[in-house]
C-alpha cells in the first residue's frame, strides 16, 4: 500500500489525557490500574478508569448522545488540538470528502444496563432511554461526525478487541479507492457491567493489575480509552518525523469464539499480511506492541505467532499493564502509543510483569529502552478470531 500520514493523533486513557500525559506515564513506567470502584461492580479486580467522566455531562446540544462512551469520546477529541486539526482538514478537502471509521465494542451499553434496573411495572424502559444516540453501536461515529462536522462516509467497526485496529485498514482502503481524501479513525470503549461480569464469567479477569507475559499471569484488567488519528495521503513536502501508517493486515482464526488458535495461526497471518502490505521483511520491525492481554492462552499463542513470523529477537512489550485492556479502543490506543514510541525513540516497558514466562520465546521488555525506531508493529486480536496487525513508521 501507499503509506498514509497521521497528520494528527491523540489518546486518553487511565494513564493520561492527551499525548504528553500518556508519554510521561509510559516514560515513568507507571501503571494507571487501580482497584475497581466502578459503578455498582463488586468484583475483586483492577480497572483502568478514566477519572472525571461521571461529572462530565455532554453539552446540551449533544444531549441525544449522552452516555459514558460519548463523554469519553468528547474528552478525547478535545486533547492535543485534534478537533482543530480535523477542522483544518475539512477546510482543505471539504466536509463530504472526509470519512469516519471508528471502533467500539461497548458503545453506550452501560446506559442500557442501568435503564434495565429502572424498568417500569410493565417492564418498560425509562422515557429517557436513547437507543440511537447511546445504545446503538453506531452512536460513537454519529456523535463524532456531529461534533467535528464531518459529512463523508462513516461506519463503526465492532469486532471486539480488534475493532479500532481494523478501522485503519478500512479507512486506508477508502482513501486508496478515492472515496475520501482523509479519514478520522480511532476507537472508544468505556467501562460497563457487560464486559466486567462477562470476562469474569470466562474466568479471564485478574484480581491483581494484569501482568502480560509474566510466568504468573492470570488474566486481564479492563480499561477504557478514547484514541483518534487523522489519516491523509502523504503530502509532497512531508515534515521529517511525521508518523506514517505503512501496512495493515487482517485475518480470521476460524477456530473458536473466545480462545485464539493455540499456535497463533490467525495472528501469524495478520502479521505476515501487514508486512507484505508494507513491503517489509521480518527484520525491518524494531519494536512490537503486543496484544498481550495477560491471559495464559492469549499470550502463549501470540508469542508462538511472533516467534514464527518476526523471530524471537525483536523487542516488544504489552502496554496493557499500564492502560488495562481497553477492548474496542485498544487498537487505536496502542497505535498512538506506537507513534509516541517512534517520536520519542523510546520502547515502552511492559509494567507489572516481574518474571517473563520462560516458556515463551519472546524478547519482552521489562524496562524502558531508548532506541532510534524506524518501524513498529502493533497487534490486536479479538473474540471471534478477529486479528489485525498494523505497521507504523516515520517520514525520513
Amino acid at each position: 500500500m501507499r503509506p498514509l500520514a497521521l497528520t494528527a493523533y491523540t489518546a486518553t486513557s487511565c494513564i493520561g489525557r492527551g499525548l504528553a500525559a500518556t508519554h510521561e506515564t509510559l516514560a515513568a513506567q507507571r501503571s494507571g490500574l487501580a482497584p475497581c470502584a466502578f459503578e455498582t461492580v463488586t468484583l475483586d479486580t483492577s480497572v483502568g478508569e478514566v477519572p472525571g467522566l461521571d461529572s462530565a455531562a455532554l453539552p446540551a446540544e449533544l444531549g441525544e448522545f449522552e452516555c459514558r462512551n460519548n463523554r469519553l469520546a468528547l474528552l478525547g477529541l478535545r486533547q492535543d488540538g485534534f478537533a482543530d486539526a480535523v477542522r483544518e482538514c475539512l477546510g482543505r478537502h471539504g466536509r463530504t470528502r472526509v470519512g469516519v471509521w471508528l471502533g467500539t465494542s461497548t458503545s453506550g451499553i452501560l446506559e442500557t444496563e442501568i435503564a434495565y434496573r429502572k424498568r417500569g411495572p410493565g417492564g418498560e424502559l425509562p422515557a429517557t432511554f436513547r437507543y440511537r444516540g447511546a445504545h446503538n453501536t453506531f452512536s460513537l461515529a454519529a456523535f463524532v461526525r456531529q461534533v467535528l462536522g464531518v459529512a463523508g462516509p462513516a461506519a463503526v467497526i465492532s469486532s471486539a478487541c480488534s475493532s479500532s485496529a481494523k478501522v485503519f485498514a478500512s479507512a486506508r482502503r477508502a482513501i486508496e479507492a478515492q472515496l475520501v481524501d482523509a479519514a478520522v479513525v480511532g476507537g472508544v470503549d468505556s467501562l460497563c457491567l457487560t464486559t466486567l461480569y462477562g470476562f469474569n464469567s470466562l474466568q479471564l479477569v485478574s484480581r491483581t493489575p494484569c501482568r502480560p507475559f509474566d510466568a504468573a499471569r492470570d488474566g486481564i484488567s479492563i480499561g477504557e480509552a478514547a484514541a483518534f488519528a487523522l489519516l491523509e495521503r502523504v503530502p509532497g513536502s512531508c515534515d521529517a518525523g511525521t508518523a506514517l501508517l505503512l501496512g495493515t493486515g487482517e485475518s480470521s482464526d476460524a477456530h473458536h469464539m473466545s480462545t485464539p488458535h493455540p499456535q497463533g495461526r490467525g495472528a501469524r497471518a495478520a502479521m505476515l499480511a501487514a508486512l507484505a502490505d508494507a513491503g517489509l521483511g521480518p527484520t525491518d520491525i524494531d519494536y512490537i506492541n503486543f496484544h498481550g492481554t495477560g491471559t495464559p492462552g492469549n499470550d502463549a499463542a501470540e508469542a508462538r505467532a511472533v516467534a514464527a513470523t518476526l523471530g524471537a529477537r525483536v523487542p516488544g512489550s504489552s502496554t496493557k499493564g499500564a492502560t488495562g485492556h481497553t477492548l474496542g479502543a485498544a487498537g487505536a490506543l496502542e497505535a498512538v502509543i506506537c507513534t509516541l514510541a517512534l517520536r520519542h525513540s523510546l520502547m515502552p516497558a511492559g509494567v507489572n510483569t516481574t518474571q517473563v514466562d520462560p516458556a515463551l520465546e519472546v524478547h519482552y521488555l521489562r524496562e524502558n529502552r531508548p532506541a532510534p525506531l524506524r518501524r513498529v508493529l502493533s497487534n490486536s486480536f479479538g473474540f471471534g478470531g478477529s486479528n489485525c496487525s498494523l505497521i507504523f513508521g516515520r517520514a525520513g
Binding site: 463530504t96 470528502r97 465494542s105 451499553i109 442500557t112 444496563e113 435503564a115 434495565y116 424498568r119 417492564g123 418498560e124 424502559l125 432511554f129 437507543y131 440511537r132 446503538n136 453501536t137 453506531f138 461515529a141 459529512a151 462516509p153 462513516a154 461506519a155 463503526v156 467497526i157 465492532s158 469486532s159 471486539a160 481494523k166 485498514a169 478500512s170 482502503r173 477508502a174 486508496e176 479507492a177 478515492q178 472515496l179 457491567l193 457487560t194 461480569y197 462477562g198 470476562f199 464469567s201 470466562l202 487482517e250 485475518s251 480470521s252 482464526d253 476460524a254 477456530h255 469464539m257 473466545s258 495461526r265 490467525g266 497471518a269 479479538g382 473474540f383 471471534g384 478470531g385 478477529s386
Partner: protein, 265 residues
C-alpha cells in the same frame, strides 16, 4: 448530484432470507412483480457447524450464515477463501436483552456463551468456524445506514485488494422492552457475492457513488414497510432492479444526509 469517483464490482450471486421470502429465487419472483405474501421469517437450522457450536448460536447468527451460504452456493464460490463483510444495525438483540436482564438482577452471572455471543462480530466468528474462512472478516454497524456502510466496505475491498468479497447484511427484532424503542418487525438478511472481474453467470455490474438524490421506495406497501423498518432491507430497491434484470440507476438509503446511487449494468 453524484460525487465521483465511484466504486464498482461484478455481482456474482445473491442470498436472501426475509418475511415470506425464504430464498433469493422466491424473492426475485416477488420483486419482479409477483404476489407478495408477508409471513414470519423462517430461519433454517445450520448444518455446517459442529454440534457444540450449533447449540451455542442464536437465530440471528443462523439468519446471517444461511444468507451467506446461499450466495456462496449460487455463486459456486469457495467460502473458505473469501473475505467477508458482516453488517448489522443491532446484531443479536435477544442476547443483548438477556444480558441486560441478568445484570439488572441480584445475581449478575452471565454465561460464558452469552458473553462471547454478545460481540457484534459473533456472526463473523461463527462463519469462520463453519466454513474455515481465514481471510479478513469485518463487522460493521451504521444504524439505519448499515447496508450502505457494508456495501461501501465490501466494494472498497473488491477494488483495492482485487479480491472477491462476500457481503452479509442482517437484522432481526429485539424482544420487549428494546423492541419498543427500536421496532424492527422481523428478521431479514441479504448476501451479495461481489468480485472484481466479470465471469460467466454474473448477475450484473454494480457501480456505487454517494448522492444526495432521494432514495427509491417500493411500490408494494408491505415491501415498502419492510424496506423502511429493517436496515438490511434498505437494499430492496437494488434487489428489485436485479430481479427485473434490467439496467438502470437506483438510489438507496445510506446516512441521514447521504444516499448511495447504484448503477446496475
Amino acid at each position: 448530484m453524484s460525487v465521483a469517483p465511484a466504486l464498482t464490482a461484478s455481482l456474482r450471486a445473491v442470498g436472501l432470507i426475509g418475511p415470506g421470502l425464504p430464498d433469493w429465487p422466491t424473492a426475485a419472483g416477488v420483486l419482479a412483480g409477483g404476489e407478495y405474501a408477508a409471513q414470519p421469517t423462517v430461519i433454517p437450522a445450520l448444518e455446517c457447524l459442529p454440534g457444540a457450536e450449533r447449540r451455542r448460536t442464536g437465530t440471528v447468527v443462523r439468519l446471517a450464515l444461511n444468507a451467506g451460504l446461499e450466495a456462496v452456493s449460487r455463486g459456486a464460490a469457495d467460502a473458505a477463501a473469501l473475505p467477508a463483510v458482516f453488517t448489522s444495525s443491532g446484531g443479536d438483540g435477544l442476547n443483548c436483552h438477556e444480558i441486560c436482564e441478568t445484570l439488572a438482577s441480584a445475581e449478575r452471572y452471565i454465561s460464558p456463551t452469552r458473553f462471547h455471543n454478545s460481540v457484534h462480530n459473533a456472526a463473523a466468528g461463527y462463519w469462520g468456524i463453519a466454513t474455515g474462512a481465514t481471510a479478513a472478516a469485518n463487522a460493521l454497524c451504521a444504524h439505519d445506514a448499515s447496508f450502505g456502510a457494508g456495501l461501501i466496505e465490501a466494494l472498497t475491498q473488491v477494488q483495492v485488494e482485487a479480491t472477491a468479497v462476500l457481503l452479509i447484511a442482517y437484522d432481526a427484532s429485539y424482544p420487549d422492552p428494546m423492541r419498543s424503542v427500536r421496532p424492527i418487525p422481523d428478521a431479514f438478511a441479504v448476501a451479495l457475492l461481489l468480485a472484481p472481474e466479470v465471469r460467466a453467470g454474473a448477475l450484473a455490474r454494480l457501480t456505487v457513488s454517494v448522492t444526495d438524490a432521494p432514495a427509491a421506495r417500493m411500490d408494494d406497501a408491505p415491501l415498502e414497510t419492510l424496506r423502511a423498518s429493517v436496515p438490511a432491507a434498505r437494499s430492496l430497491p437494488l434487489l428489485r432492479q436485479l430481479a427485473l434484470a434490467t439496467a438502470g440507476r437506483i438510489v438507496i438509503d445510506y446516512l441521514g444526509d447521504q444516499r448511495l446511487s447504484v448503477e446496475v449494468a
